[in-house]
Amino acid sequence: MNLHIADYLIIIVYFLFVIGVGFIIKKKIKTSNDFLTSGRNIPLWITSLAFISANLGAQEVLGMVASGAKYGIMTVHFYWVGAIFAMVFLGVFMMPFYYGSRARSVPEFLKLRFDEKTRGLNAISFAVMTIFSSGISLYALAKLLEVILHWDFDVSIWLAAGIVMIYTFLGGLTSAVYNEVLQFFLIVLGLSPLVIVALHDAGGWHNIKTLLQPEMTHAWKYMGNADSNPMGINFMSLIFGLGFVMSFGYWCTDFLVVQRAMMAKNMNAARRTPIIAAIPKMFMPLIVVLPGVIAISLMQPALASKGFSIPSDGKGGLDYTMALPALISHYYPTGLLGVGITALIASFMSGMAGNVTAFNSVFTFDIYQSYFVKNKSDRHYLIVGKMVTVAGVLLSIVTAYIATSFNNINDFLQLVFSFVNGPLFATFLLGMFWKRTTGHGAFFGLLAGTLAAAATHGLTLAEGKGGWIYPLYEIHSGMGQAFIVASVSWIVNFCTTIIVSLFTRPKPEAELIGLVYSLTEKPSYHQDKWYLKVVPLGIILIVATIILNLIFF
């Protein structure tokens, strides 16, 4: 693929805008809270789009297209099972606690609800996870630029990381969030023409259904038996592993996304942030799953004349991660090619900057300020926050090299999530809805859950991964392995937390007001119109999601 002047011009305009946003926001940064939490002053439409954009990184865009090509339309489960319900739950039930507690981060909320050690454990594991996620975004972009544009892998990593570092260093969280919204529009508008043209070229959805095996075009029909669908899992594993444990673990407890809702101007806006975000999220499969299904259809013998192919992985299989770049290269002419490449670069930056800003908030407030240097001036923490931003980018570069050993980056990411997020939702569920849950229970539950995740991964083998303790049980796909690891870790955490809590002393009820559901006054917005209330909006979203599942059953 060769870029021309117009393509480079579009990429340069984009770089100038993202860096320019950093310089504009820099003038507003006066305190550590401005830099690390945006001072809770961001409008609803920005928090909502930033909420899904933080998740719209390279691993989402490239990884979901890859999964669409590998697993077929079943990949929509990551949206219609694994996102919308959890986002509604977050808005309706959990945001009042996060926002109302005035905590600056999720680990800080854990400190308020439980104790210092639970916060420390969560803060450290979250910091590790964000750095891994950020590194995967970086790896994805560098690999993309190497394959498509023949840029040097190492140079791409350092150049791309440098640009993210500039605008996050200048404007902190606000700069990252503003750029995430710009990146959201660029990704959606930049990739939409590709979907339209490629779908038309493949003969439309009806033709795709006749070309592919039926299990590739049905979301639920072949989920009864793990052996009869490409993901290699049955519907129970999917609903519990993805739809409950991983989905709620990610959308309801991952500070990277929750942080976007916590920036809202008031409680009502904070609660509506994930609800409003769920609307575009519901339709994202059109942009990130459908292209993968189209790509694999175009490789069927009947469409061989189209001349499209997904590159080989060098081991006799297909390199699914390259499905989207291959489509862009095949269909986009000069000019639009620049837009497509810029959209991919934007997706990388969105994912990486989101992780880096979440990392610097948690590291500065929950690790540095809590354990190392307390009671310093605000300016001190502002400087530390900026230094941590630089350190976060450098650590991301290291993890980017670790990610090179996986052929489907989405599998790798799900594995990392399952270690950290899998058990976490059990802690929040018990902490928010059972006042008897104790700090010791939460801490040992989290610890046991994470160890259970590691042990399960070590005892199961999928696509040559895992089984590092003993390959006791073989699973068809890496994705299925991630669901099982997450499920086991959640159950172990849930049981351990209950058992330990029953043998330890809980906090007095007076200290739990605003942190536990039964002890907290419920917010009421009777004066608001229905479309300003989270419950009616949430019900509409759930009904629409169920209908979508039925259409693609």
């Binding site: 117009a6 504009i24 919204v181 529009f185 508008l189 023409p193 002419p333 000019g335 837009v339």
Partner: protein
Amino acid sequence: MYKKLSNLGFVIGIFFIIISLILIIGGLLSSTLAYKLNFYTGFTFLLFGILMTAFNRNNHQQNQN
């Protein structure tokens, strides 16, 4: 001007207007860019950019009033 640039919707609108102009004007001036897909996408971006800019300018004026 700084206040306008602080308005994210305005910035996004300007960004898409610039990109659309590269696609449309480039397509008119150079055969390398003269593809239907570039024109269709360029006009869509232009429309979106103008709407974002106008909408956010109105919002900005209402906030000032």
